[in-house]
Symmetry: C2
Subunit: 373 residues, 2 copies
């Protein structure tokens, strides 16, 4: 049987990233000069450089936040702390390590240079300057900048993520021919750990009408994780139902083992991540694609998933797809676990990382890996 | 002035990691054989291998979750889907691709082998087998395993993180000698993005009594992030107050630029991350240490923070501490931004990554980096 070429993982990740519009963030401009006054960048004494190494009588102390009320006349100085406004008259700050105390005066150990250890007014930006253009991704540091210039800070929010398993074989009190739903709780824990506001929904039967009714009533969910129902089996209804509903299928099936049947779609502005039903496939695809979907909906940049490690033993890969292989990890060292396939939740629970093994296998040595969550 | 040797960053991270006890997770044992019955691993026909390539009359179809009620006698077969229990009498599953339809019968294109495409009962584990020892870190896949064997799943929870800025210079409607609190909102956004249940608290004045009263009443916080008050200035009260209260200081001051004054302490089972007051220092130390503290309190494994990138231009570092330098990032390529020091929130807001620059500087080429949040 000839197989159509499958979508490489990196292409699938890019397609999902590109499905989101550019962030709608506003530009950020300085509301005032930054700094708004000359500020000291050291703990020391604010003084006049032209007095050279002559002793200076101490007029007082200025801390960060104090108004610049003391006037530094020739032969005087003001003790000053980092971040405090430089008092009028002073044009240099000599650090405390370079000052000698003589009676009630301070004496610089060397001639000060005008301007030293002063962050000059508007040295960072002038009022009105563009600090950050519109369309920059949402980031914590951008929030700090908004606060600095007095712009409103966006409310903290979490993406609402629904988790639903499909399959007639799922039963909370299983007979021998049934199984408990393990993917649901696992994906719920994973999405929660990735920062989502997650909601687990009752498992769906393998009935197209039930699947469709469910998909028509997703409420305020931003992302739906489904597990199962995306392969080529007679009861794998999800691809057809989504297509019938007019969903935009971003991709279906990727060149990855485990995890090939992965389906991703946009439905009424929501992201549907149709994960395979096998636990390892389901977990790995959620680990790869959910952070991208979460970042996209939040206007964030999708994080780089790969880290560089060292495989400590060879891993064969006779198949025609790259393999993500479970490993224990110590620092950068990856010790491959004996894998027993994509149904093996025990190995999955033992894994601390998944190493990338290209077609043909990989000798011990460098490879990239994913950290588990 | 001679400086005592400062703690390297990796040592500081290890000290914080080691401050947490081993996870108190229970062992996980199989409650029943896994699989509990012989299951099909393919879509195809369940049949008797000993019938060779003779046609088999189809008795019916079995889906995942169906009870194994049909009996496969010689000359018969049952259509079967992946995950379905193999009916009694059958000892092999021939995939649909290797079956021909002849009238109302199915004919294997080659002689079946007994046992093929069957996941045998207890092939993964026997009832009572140890699947995961006690003390394994909390992980999403462990939750899946708990659900699989019918053990209770831990409730979803977020670590409560308080954020408080210190400094008399902070004012929401600042005079020229005052500034707005930008660290508070920034750290709040950062902690939220890292999955914390974050609460921002009113800024603290530079008064030891006020700082102490605040620290004595931390309620249900698991982690407190403070910014400012940890340097050697006259108003940097936090180290002394924490010591006076009997906190266990894990470390104070690290060999890193920016971020040297970093203080970390345990106080009544809570983690205090005393971040420097400068925005870049504050951000970078939170980015490094908060994930470790969050993981420690949740019984998770601290994530590996470093990724491997390629610096596209040399970055000097004349200082005596390693530098984390702000960069734009495209894939693995790191383009250094012109840095203007640790007070520069604009560069921080532009940065997409921080590249590790050892003492002496670094030429263009490989280096590790941190992704921003």
């Amino acid at each position: 049987m000839s197989t159509p070429p499958l979508l490489p993982l990196e292409d699938a990740l890019r397609i999902l990233r590109d499905a989101f519009p550019a962030p709608a963030t506003a530009e950020v401009r300085a509301d005032r000069d930054d700094p708004a006054l000359d500020l000291s960048s050291m703990d020391g004494a604010a003084l006049r450089a032209s007095d050279g190494v002559a002793p200076r009588r101490v007029l007082g102390t200025r801390y960060a936040g104090d108004p610049p009320t003391l006037e530094v006349a020739p032969g005087t100085c003001v003790r000053i702390m980092t971040g405090a406004a430089v008092p009028p008259g002073a044009d240099a700050v000599v650090p405390v390590e370079e000052l000698e105390v003589r009676g009630d005066a301070l004496v610089p150990v060397r001639p000060p240079r005008a301007g030293e250890n002063i962050r000059p007014r508007a040295g960072q930006a002038r009022a009105g300057d563009l600090l950050l253009p519109a369309g920059e991704p949402a980031r914590a540091a951008r929030v700090g900048l908004l606060a600095q210039v007095g712009m409103p800070v966006p409310p903290l929010a979490r993406v609402k993520v629904g988790v639903v398993a499909t399959g007639d074989e799922l039963n909370a009190h299983p007979a021998p021919h049934q199984i408990r739903d393990s993917n649901g709780p696992m994906l719920e824990a994973l999405a929660h750990a990735l920062g989502a506001d997650v909601r687990r929904l009752p498992a769906l039967p393998d009935e197209p009408a039930a699947v469709r009714a469910f998909l028509e009533d997703l409420g305020d969910l931003g992302i739906l994780l489904t597990s199962g129902g995306v392969s080529a089996g007679e009861k794998d209804h999800l691809p057809r139902v989504l297509a019938d509903m007019g969903a935009r299928i971003l991709f279906h099936k990727i060149r990855l083992k485990p995890g090939k049947p992965m389906l991703t779609a946009l439905l009424d502005g929501r992201i549907i991540l149709g994960l395979p039903g096998n636990p390892v496939s389901s977990y790995i695809n959620a680990l790869m694609f959910l952070p991208v979907a979460l970042a996209g909906l939040q206007g964030r940049r999708a994080p780089e998933p790969w880290k560089e490690g060292l495989l400590r033993a060879p891993v064969p890969n006779p198949g025609d797809r790259p393999l993500l292989h479970p490993c224990r990890r110590q620092g950068r060292d990856l010790d491959p676990l004996p894998s027993r396939g994509s149904a093996d939740l025990v190995r999955l629970a033992q894994a601390e990382a998944f190493a990338w093994i290209p077609e043909g296998g990989l000798a011990a040595g460098p490879t990239r890996y994913l950290d588990v969550v």
